[in-house]
């Protein structure tokens, strides 16, 4: 039987293949840090591994690179590692409610107050601020650059002559946008109003590709400005203030979370080292955040 004769060599071929695949994997894995199944776990006694806390935050803070700028310093000083999960403010607060993360850093004051009133969070700690701005194509067909307030600008969007991309994801930026529609007293509807359901970076990219207007935090816009043709059309409206706060969770609701380490992060990020780091943080020669109200 021909098959019998081939069996051994065929077998070897397959073994060689599997072996090669494994070698490729090991080769590609070398610089990686941890091993699956050994995800740092606070209940097991770790020897050399840092304690890891999970921070749910907004895409605007993460996409702008601010946390990459701050957290390595925090980890070096305290030995506490921070895993950052970047989602919208709504989703971040939801993770906090469920106790899927140890702490949240968000930017929607009203939703934050609700979160605290419901007993999920302890208190809001001011971290930094910047502002929301309206960006759009340089041609600016609706003349947004000629108006002074977001309310006026949004009234112009209602004409529907150019598309407006909404985050549509219950994020802080989305909540801010909705609050402005409330000021205007109209509900945005129609082909011109696009609810994308995506993060800030994605929405800016969509607006850029579709030559549409959008509301963005200045941090994400400046950090991406080199990739965008969108121009800044309206800024400086006090209604567009954008404040980021960190909120430790209520230990009574989720006693097994890493509350002490989370508090260390709160103290550090609201402390002097972080103030300087935040004030010095520049991308594309723009200062992205400030701590004016601290």
């Amino acid at each position: 039987m021909e098959f019998q004769g081939n069996f051994k060599s065929a077998h070897r071929q397959i073994l060689v293949t599997i072996f090669s695949v494994i070698v490729i994997c090991i080769f590609s894995c070398t610089p990686a840090r941890d091993v699956p199944g050994e995800e740092p776990d606070d209940t097991s006694g770790e020897t050399q591994q840092n304690v890891v806390i999970k921070l749910a935050t907004t895409t605007s803070v993460d996409n702008s690179g601010l946390l990459n700028h701050l957290l390595p310093v925090f980890t070096a000083e305290t030995g506490i590692e921070v895993d950052v999960i970047a989602v919208g403010t709504g989703a971040a607060l939801e993770m906090g409610r469920k106790g899927d993360v140890d702490i949240v850093l968000v930017h929607a004051p009203e939703a934050e107050q609700e979160f605290i009133d419901e007993g999920f969070g302890l208190a809001r700690h001011y971290v930094a601020q910047n502002e929301f701005v309206i960006v759009g194509p340089g041609s600016d067909p609706l003349g947004i650059r000629n108006v002074r307030t977001a309310e006026e600008a949004f009234s112009l969007f209602l004409s529907g002559d150019l598309q407006f991309i909404s985050r549509g994801d219950n994020s802080g930026t989305h909540k801010k946008e909705l609050s402005i529609w409330e000021l205007v007293g109209e509900t945005p509807e129609g082909d011109w109003y696009i609810e994308s359901g995506q993060g800030m970076g994605a929405v800016l990219t969509i607006a850029d590709q579709m030559e549409a207007y959008t509301l963005t935090d200045s941090g994400t816009y400046y950090s991406m400005v080199n990739h965008l043709d969108l121009v800044l059309l309206l800024l400086g409206d006090p209604a567009l203030e954008n404040i980021y706060s960190i909120i430790p969770l209520n230990p009574e609701l989720h006693p097994d979370l890493l509350h002490d380490e989370a508090m260390e992060l709160v103290n550090w990020i609201t402390g002097p080292t972080s103030i300087d780091l935040i004030n010095d943080y520049e991308v594309n020669t723009h200062r992205l955040f400030n701590v004016a109200n601290r």
Binding site: E2, F3, N6, F7, S9, A10, H11, Q13, I14, V16, T17, S20, V21, I22, I24, C25, S28, C29, T30, P31, A32, R33, D34, V35, P36, G37, E39, D41, D42, T43, K54, N63, N68, D83, V84, I85, A86, K98, G99, D100, V101, Q198, G199, G201, A202, L204, T205, D208, M224, H227, L228, H254
Partner: protein, 231 residues
Amino acid sequence: MGQLFDSIAEAFHLLSGGDIEVYGLIGTSFRVALTSTVIAAIIAFPLGIWLGLGKFKGKRAIDIIFNTLLFLPTVVVGHLVYMFLTREGPLGDYRLLFSQTAIVIGQVILATPIITAMVSNAIRVADPRIMATSLALGTGRLRAYAALLGEIRELVLLSVVAAFGRVIAEVGVSMMLGGNIFGKTRTITTGIALLTSQGEFGRATALGLVLLIIVFIINILVYQATHRAGT
């Protein structure tokens, strides 16, 4: 077009230059996908043999269920596993959400039906005398099963590769269950999603090419193995 060529150049640059971040992503992707595939194979081989050989009531229903599972959208799996792993879910106490382990769980669910369906289908069309012969020769049941898998080894290998291909390329499970945490659960695919959303098309394309190149190499090896193995 220029941008595409730049990206290709950047892909090779990333691969050869040893960009530590890129290697980290590749490492995470492969480690997670490989672990998932191996676990899925361990679960799926017995299942596939059972379904392939078995003649019992309700078998057709189980076959159809497994074939349906082949089409499970990754985000559905991601969502379902999320419901289990969240702190309020049944497995919440293990704190697995947003870890590589969580991704592996989701990917095992994606990969297992692929291997199961392919193995059971291969056994169905394989020579029914193999099992009988092996058993008649006095080998144990486990050895007979091994001989059976050996007989259809190319299809077994292809099923494993297909499963690996699905999990290494998926983004839904990795994003939802891993959380795209830099240095921990950011994979090639979630990295591409993030880079694209930030308008960094060059690096995103480059990462995509990196994935393609590596999978291409694996396929060459598999092709050689299955074709030299003498069919």
